[in-house]
C-alpha cells in the first residue's frame, strides 16, 4: 500500500494539476508496484482474500516518467470527468490529427504539462501533453486506432 506521504503526493498532483477533489478518492487505495502506482476499491473484504495468491489487483493509475508523474489513460478515463482544470474539449478531426501523430498549435490558458482530452463532458479520451504551445497526444496509437475515428468505417 502507498504510504500516507505517497498517497498525498498522488492526490496533491491530481488536485493541483486537474482540480480533482482528493475527497473523491476516499473509497480507493493506492499501492506501489515498481515504478507505478495502482488503484483499487478500498474494502475490508481484501483482508479475507489475503491468503490467496493474487496476480493482479485494480488498475494501474500512475507511472513515474523520469521525475514526473504520468496518469494512465485508463485512470484518466475513469476520473477525468471530475476535473475542473487542464481539460480540453476537442472535436473528432482534432483527435484524428493527434492520433496521426500531429502536434496541434494552440494558445491555451493552461500551464505546460498534461491535459485531459475530452470529446465532450461525458467522453474522456485520455491525456495530451501541452508544451511550448503545441499539444500532442499521449494516447497509444495502437490502442486508439485511426479507424476508430470518423464515421464511414464503423458501420
Amino acid at each position: 500500500m502507498a504510504s500516507p506521504a505517497e498517497r498525498d503526493l498522488l492526490l496533491a498532483y491530481l488536485e493541483d494539476r486537474f482540480g480533482i477533489d482528493r475527497d473523491g478518492f476516499d473509497g480507493f487505495l493506492f499501492f506501489k508496484k515498481k515504478k507505478s502506482w495502482w488503484i483499487a476499491t478500498r474494502t475490508p473484504l481484501l483482508a479475507s482474500v489475503s491468503r490467496l495468491k493474487i496476480s493482479r489487483m485494480g488498475m494501474k493509475a500512475f507511472q513515474k516518467v523520469g521525475q514526473f508523474l504520468k496518469p494512465t489513460t485508463r485512470f484518466i478515463q475513469v476520473f477525468g470527468s471530475y476535473a475542473s482544470g487542464a481539460t480540453l474539449v476537442i472535436g473528432e478531426a482534432e483527435l484524428l490529427a493527434l492520433q496521426e501523430g500531429k502536434g496541434l498549435s494552440l494558445d491555451l490558458d493552461i500551464d505546460q504539462g498534461y491535459v485531459i482530452l475530452m470529446m465532450d463532458e461525458n467522453r474522456v479520451v485520455g491525456l495530451g501533453l501541452y508544451v511550448n504551445g503545441i499539444l500532442r497526444s499521449q494516447v497509444s496509437r495502437k490502442a486508439l486506432k485511426i479507424e476508430m475515428l470518423g464515421g464511414e468505417e464503423r458501420t
Binding site: F28, I39, A40, T41, T43, L45, L46, S48, V49, R51, L52, K53, I54, S55, R56, M57, G58, M59, K60, R74, Q77, V78, M119, N122, R123, V124, V125, A143, L144, K145, E147, M148, L149, G151, E153, R154, T155
Partner: protein, 316 residues
C-alpha cells in the same frame, strides 16, 4: 473456402454436426433452429454504467448512424446493434463505454445479480466480459476474485477490466476445480469451459465444429468445478452455473450431479425472453424434477448464442 460456399455446405440437415441432429429430440421447432445457426449473429453490446450513462451512449452512437434496439425489456444497458459491424472499432469501445457481448452471455451476471459490497468469485473469468458486468452491477464496490488458470488469458482479462474501469477486482490463477477452500463467497459465477455448441454460428466462418476427445472429458471437469464452487459458497449464498452449449451432459446432468452430492437447491431465474426449462432427462438418464428451474436459450428464439443457466442456492 469462401463464406458463401461454407454456408452452402452447412445448409443441409445432414451436414450439421451430428450432436445437433440428436438434439432435435428436445430443441423445439428444430427446423427454425437449424436455419438460425446458419445466419450471422447480430451485434450485441452492453453499455458500461461504470463509465457512461446509457442514454448518452445511445445518443452518441445514434449520431453516427448506429441503430440500437433494446434487447431485454426493462434493461437500459443491453442493445442489439444490427448495423454496427465492428463494435471493437469504435471510440465508444476504446473509452470503455460499450462492450461487445452476446445477449445470453449478459444474462449470466444478471441472473447472479450480486449485491453491492459483497464478496464474489468468478471461477473462469477470462476474457472478462462477465466479470466486468458483475463489477458494473456492484457499482465497483465490494470485491470480485476473478480466477483464470491460464496465464495467456490474463492479458485479455486485464485489458477488459482496465478498459471498462473495473477497480474492485483481484485476479488469481488457480485451477477452478481446486480453488483453495480458504474463504467462502457470497456470490459465485461458474461459467465453465464447455463444448461451445451454442456459439456455433458465431464461429462457423472460422472452423468447422467437430467432436473431439477433449470435449468428451468436459462433463467430468464441469462436475468437479461445480462441486468446488458449491463448497466455496457461504450458507445463504447464491451461484450461477452457465454454459454456452446445448449438450444436456454438460448442463442438466452436471447440475443433477451436484444436487445428488450436496444439499443444494435451485432457484428460479426469470427473464422477459423466450426460453425453455431444463430437461428432466435425456436418453434414459433422469435429471430430476428440480432442473426444470434451469433455463435453456436457443438462437432461433432469442437471436443470440445458445446458452444454459442454473441458479443454485446453499441453505443457511
Amino acid at each position: 473456402m469462401s463464406s458463401e460456399n461454407r454456408q452452402a455446405s452447412l445448409s443441409t440437415h445432414e451436414s450439421l454436426p451430428d450432436a445437433f441432429s440428436l438434439y432435435s429430440e428436445f430443441i423445439p421447432d428444430f427446423d427454425s433452429f437449424r436455419e438460425s445457426i446458419l445466419k450471422p449473429l447480430p451485434t450485441h453490446i452492453r453499455i458500461n454504467t461504470l463509465k457512461a450513462n446509457p442514454h448518452q451512449v445511445v445518443s452518441s452512437l445514434g449520431r453516427k448512424g448506429v441503430s440500437l434496439r433494446k434487447s431485454l425489456p426493462g434493461n437500459a444497458t443491453l442493445y442489439t446493434a444490427e448495423n454496427l459491424v465492428s463494435p471493437g472499432n469504435t471510440l465508444e469501445y476504446f473509452i470503455g463505454h460499450i462492450h461487445p457481448q452476446a445477449l445470453t452471455s449478459c444474462l449470466a451476471s444478471l441472473a447472479l445479480n450480486p449485491e453491492p459490497e459483497s464478496l464474489v468469485l468468478d471461477l473462469c473469468a477470462a476474457p472478462g466480459g462477465k466479470t466486468s458486468h458483475l463489477a458494473q452491477l456492484m457499482g465497483n464496490t465490494g470485491l470480485i476474485v476473478a480466477n483464470e488458470l491460464y496465464g495467456n488469458r490474463h492479458i485479455p482479462l486485464g485489458n477488459t477490466l482496465t478498459r471498462m474501469g473495473v477497480l474492485n477486482t483481484v485476479v488469481t490463477a488457480y485451477q477452478a476445480q481446486e480453488f483453495p477452500l480458504k474463504q467462502q463467497f457470497d456470490f459465485i459465477l461458474a461459467d465453465v469451459p464447455c463444448s461451445g455448441e451454442g456459439r456455433f454460428r458465431k464461429i462457423r466462418d472460422e472452423f468447422t465444429y467437430r467432436e473431439t476427445k477433449e470435449k468428451a472429458l468436459l462433463p467430468a471437469l464441469q462436475r468437479k468445478i461445480l462441486l468446488r464452487a458449491y463448497d466455496l459458497l457461504r450458507p445463504g449464498g447464491k451461484m450461477v452455473y452457465a454454459t454456452c452449449t446445448y449438450n444436456p451432459g454438460e448442463n442438466e446432468e452436471v447440475v443433477s450431479h451436484l444436487l445428488v452430492q450436496r444439499e443444494a437447491s435451485l432457484f428460479p431465474i426469470t427473464f422477459d425472453l423466450p426460453s425453455e426449462p431444463g430437461l428432466f432427462g435425456w436418453r434414459d438418464v433422469p435429471y430430476g424434477k428440480q432442473v426444470e428451474k434451469c433455463l435453456r436459450f436457443y438462437p432461433h428464439l432469442v437471436d443470440s448464442v445458445g446458452f444454459f443457466l442454473a441458479g443454485i442456492g446453499k441453505p443457511c
